[in-house]
Amino acid sequence: MIGLVVVSHSQKAAEGICEIAAQMGGDAPIEPAGGDDGEIGTDVTAIKDAIKSVDDGDGVVVLVDLGSAVMNAELAIEMGDTDAVIADAPVLEGALNAAVEATNPSATIDSVVEKAEDARDYHKVN
């Protein structure tokens, strides 16, 4: 199954987003990588470890929040040996979509990324 990692500057935000996503995509392995040593920030080692921990060989999709989360996730992917891709999506809605798609038996990295990225078009007020 495709694994998911949620990278946020806040540990609480990363954990909370995983909680929300897991409610819908219960079986999908999803792991938070939030904060930097308890402070606001992102930590390349924590991201790398999280990616490894949810990888069962099918690959991993990474959801990210701001600036350095993207760069540290890129670096974590380059430094690790997991087949992992960053979804260009809003972190919460993207994680939710990705978790749902990941439980689809025919899901692939591409299909999970695509569903996550569908969240870019969501409007909350019409």
Binding site: G41, T42, V44, M71
Partner: protein, 239 residues
């Protein structure tokens, strides 16, 4: 430049000088970063570069390995966007030094570092980032050696001048990247912390080069800077 032992000593001196300098400038960098960022640039960089200097302190490795270790340590210790931008770029550019430190490999290192920063940060000249200091510095260094046939020490002195101009150039710009971009117009009028720390690092590389390239006359360093492509690029970026 000299034999492998001297090169190693020069690199270790350089990283130690950089770590000391960033420690000295910690409050100043934090002050710049509080205006338009998250106020962690000074502490992140001084902590990371000190850890990197300590990590390689007694290293017997060749310079490319030492520089790589510095990059890897920065990645894990700096935090924020600076970890991947400084550490990741140093790590990646270190492979240009596998033949040691020469005029040629130092140009390749500078170019590889700049390329990685541009790629990772998705920035361009004029976005109010370290790229505004780094680009003119790397271009000036390369041009001074390859076109003007100047010795590396002189080229580096000119590169530092170019970086200084780049830092000043960041002040009136509106930030397009990083946390500062969220401030929009409020970022105008503030000096970019990343460009500033890039200048400090280069100044320490120059001071180290002065120490180790003493044989090179530095008479040329006093010569006027010749016109080059950078002012045009600076003008272009301002639009």
């Amino acid at each position: 430049m000299a034999d492998a032992d001297t090169q190693r000593e020069a690199v270790l001196t350089a990283i130690d000088r950089v770590a000391d300098r960033l420690e000295e400038e910690r409050s100043y960098l934090t002050e710049l970063d509080s205006a338009i960022g998250d106020a962690d640039h000074g502490s992140n960089l001084s902590r990371g570069f000190r850890a990197a200097a300590d990590e390689v302190e007694n290293s017997e490795d060749d310079v490319d390995e030492i520089v790589k270790t510095i990059g890897v340590t920065l990645i894990s210790k700096v935090g924020g966007a600076s970890g991947p931008l400084y550490g990741g770029s140093i790590m990646s550019a270190s492979q240009e030094l596998d033949d040691g430190l020469t005029a040629e490999t130092s140009i390749a290192f500078g170019e590889a570092y700049l390329e990685k920063v541009l790629d990772r940060g998705d920035a361009r000249v004029g976005a109010k980032t370290m790229v505004d200091a780094l680009t003119p510095a790397v271009h000036t260094y390369k041009k001074s050696i390859e076109v003007d046939d100047l010795p590396p020490l002189t080229a580096l002195a000119k590169a530092v001048e170019a970086a200084e101009a780049g830092v000043a150039f960041t002040v009136p710009l509106r930030a397009e990247k990083g946390r500062a971009s969220f401030l929009g117009w409020r970022s105008v009028g503030h000096q970019d912390p990343g460009a500033t720390s890039t200048l400090f690092i280069m100044e320490e590389l120059l001071a180290t080069a002065e120490q180790y390239l003493e044989g090179e006359t530095d008479v040329d360093a006093a010569a006027p800077t010749e016109p080059d492509v950078d002012p045009d690029e600076v003008d272009g970026g301002e639009e």
